[in-house]
């Protein structure tokens, strides 16, 4: 594991730190598309980005009871996320230490022991090796079981029900790593003391595209929505609304993290929940509108009325849409493929009928069969296919929208831009390049230089 800039050159597979930094040029607003398709860069990513970032593991409500577990991935590494007797959460590599077999092969469950189906090594819910067949006769009682526990994820922390893990013990706390992002996340995850829960199960599907297309879009790209999703908007509008009357809103803001790569964008004009009613259902929209006074008491008027239709990414791969309430992780599967794992988030204290309509509305809008989601994949796949060409992968991508137009707004913390901007994308890729170049966590905490003017 590379830390403190001490990455040996050979682990960069021919890419020097300088070469990597040059892939992202925020001054000219250009991006080298090899970031999406180069196999060597991908292998560096798994170590430098996925090995050192806080990665979303599970929602608290997916493992409520002692012994509950959920199996997921950190990058390409399978992990088990497990609720302990004392209520804490532990995560460890989903791999037997004997011959490397996957320990838990189910999506989720409740168990006291994870027993490997190969030779029967058995681990408790914290990953401690507790039983080995033939320990006396085969190993002559010489096996030191304490040395052969499952590999623990050293850092597991939670923010408002979202459980994250990091392979790097030296990473700053999750709270610190999120920073101002928390202000924006709370509009979805902190609407009441009861918090949120997951409705139903997990949508999992494969898209042949690089993970950064998806993650950057949720971080920074309101720009695509009016065109990519126009068919779905027209389809869900109430009968009698003429197509020319359907106008995408133009007021709004985008926020980017100063150094952490997170970003969000939203419309500030209040549409009284009309679009939400069309997308996720009238009962959900009515519930959200009725809850505004109590939410405003908690979060203030700004986040209750002036954050609408938001998109957000926590770097690198955790994305969500506050209001619609889909939450997903873009698990990388090589430079050219992702697995999307998407969850439906609902207010834990909402009436059951509202929760059910919310889950149903998310299914119909943002899922593999969702009327909005389908068209996103179409774009990412085609870009990825085009990048097979040697000419096409040498043309820099344009990342210039909003350069020089950052602003401040007394209502919102941090660096802000107009809602149609690529400032958050520039922040996202700069964070990526800095991690890829091997900057230490201390170095990464400093604001991006040069700042986007």
């Amino acid at each position: 594991m590379a830390r403190d800039g001490a990455t040996p050159e050979d682990s960069r597979r021919g890419w020097s730190a300088d070469d990597i930094r040059k892939l992202v040029d925020v001054e000219t607003g250009t991006l080298d598309p090899r970031v999406y398709c180069d196999e060597s860069l991908y292998q560096i990513e798994l170590e430098q980005v996925f090995g050192r970032s806080w990665l979303f593991l599970a929602h608290r409500s997916q493992i409520p009871k002692a012994g509950d577990y959920f199996t997921t991935y950190m990058g390409e590494d399978p992990v088990i996320v497990s609720r302990q007797k004392d209520g804490s959460v532990v995560a460890f590599l989903n791999q037997c230490r004997h011959r490397g077999m996957r320990l838990a092969r189910l999506d989720h469950g409740n168990t006291k022991f994870f027993t490997c189906s190969y030779h029967g090594w058995s681990y408790d819910s914290s990953g401690k090796l507790v039983n080995v067949p033939m320990e006396k006769n085969g190993y002559c009682s010489k096996l030191v079981k304490a040395d052969w526990g499952a590999v623990r994820v050293p850092r597991v922390e939670e923010y408002k029900g979202l459980i994250f893990g990091c392979w790097d013990a030296e990473v700053p706390s999750l709270d610190e790593s999120l920073g101002d992002a928390k202000f924006y996340m709370d509009a979805m995850f902190d609407r009441s003391d009861a918090g949120t829960e997951i409705w139903g199960g997990v949508h999992k599907w494969v898209i042949p595209c690089n993970w950064k297309f998806a993650s950057e879009q949720f971080c920074s790209d309101m720009y695509h929505a009016p065109l990519s999703h126009m068919s779905a908007i027209l389809a869900v509008m109430p009968a009698g609304v003429p197509p020319e009357a359907v106008q995408w809103p133009t007021e709004g803001l985008q926020w980017r993290s100063e150094s952490a790569g997170h970003g969000t964008g939203f419309h500030t004009a209040d549409d009284q929940g009309q679009l939400l009613a069309a997308i996720v259902g009238p009962a959900v929209a009515e519930y959200l509108m009725a809850s505004r006074p109590r939410v405003a008491e908690r979060l203030g008027a700004t986040r209750t009325h002036a954050v609408n239709g938001a998109h957000m990414t926590i770097f690198p791969t955790c994305s969500f849409l506050p209001g619609i309430n889909t939450l997903r992780v873009w698990h990388p599967r090589g430079p050219n493929e992702i697995e999307v794992w998407a969850l439906a988030v609902v207010d834990a204290d909402a009436p059951q009928a509202v929760k059910d309509q919310w889950g149903q509305g998310i299914t119909r809008s943002f899922s593999p069969g969702g009327m909005f989601e389908q068209d996103d994949g179409e774009n990412w796949i085609e870009v990825q296919r085009v990048l097979r060409g040697t000419k096409s992968r040498r043309q820099p991508f344009n990342l210039q929208m909003g350069i020089g137009n950052e602003q401040s707004d007394a209502r919102f913390p941090g660096k802000l831009s107009y809602v149609f901007s690529e400032a958050a994308a520039r922040g996202f890729y700069t964070r990526w390049a800095r991690m890829m170049a091997g900057e230490s966590h201390a170095e990464l905490a400093a604001a991006h230089q040069p700042e986007v003017r």
Binding site: G200, H203, W205, L234, A235, R364, P368, M371, G377, N379
Partner: protein, 174 residues
């Protein structure tokens, strides 16, 4: 009303399913939607891997996520989306072939209605070289109709035999 599964009934329902499949493969979605009752449901639950799948164990309880959870109105929205010409995931449309087999008819709990199980193999070819193959079963409730289609679909429950979906989307109908 008779609950006998006569050869004539078997033939009639199979022919109905073939005609329905042909409408989908010809992208005649409005005609296809007209085969559903106004109160129809159209669902495809998510597939999960869980312990209780041991042979003979009961299915899990609690809310289940679906890939599709539609009614006649939302199916109509999906078709409207395709008709805008801006639904990029189906513009140009996928080439599909809906193959239906193993048609097994049982009397429903309402006189004159039938529960019809079948297997499907759905082939999709898209743009230059994308190919997806979906295999599963459908459980339909068929209700007699006197408007020319002979039958209406009052309920369609789709089981897709795949864990993680290998297709980039489900922009087609099952």
């Amino acid at each position: 009303m008779s609950t006998a599964i006569t050869p004539e009934l078997q033939l009639d329902i199979e022919r109905f399913l073939y005609e329905e499949a042909a409408l989908l493969d010809r992208h005649e979605y409005r005609a296809w939607l007209a085969l559903f009752t106004p109160d129809a449901s159209y669902r495809m639950p998510v597939t999960t891997n869980y312990h209780e799948q041991a042979v003979g164990a009961p299915p899990p309880t609690g809310p289940v996520a679906n890939y599709f959870d539609d009614n006649a109105v939302t199916l109509g929205q999906r078709i409207k989306r395709l008709e805008t010409g801006k639904g990029w995931a189906e513009m140009p449309p996928s080439r599909t072939r809906h193959c239906v087999s193993n048609v097994y008819i049982k009397p429903a709990d309402v006189a004159g209605e039938w529960d019809v199980e079948c297997c499907f193999l759905l082939y999709r070819s898209r743009l230059e070289r994308q190919v997806d193959i979906f295999v599963g079963s459908r459980s339909d409730r068929l209700r007699p109709s006197d408007d020319g289609s002979r039958w209406k679909i009052a309920r369609r429950d789709i089981t897709l035999d795949q864990g993680t979906l290998l297709a980039n989307n489900l922009s087609i109908f099952f």
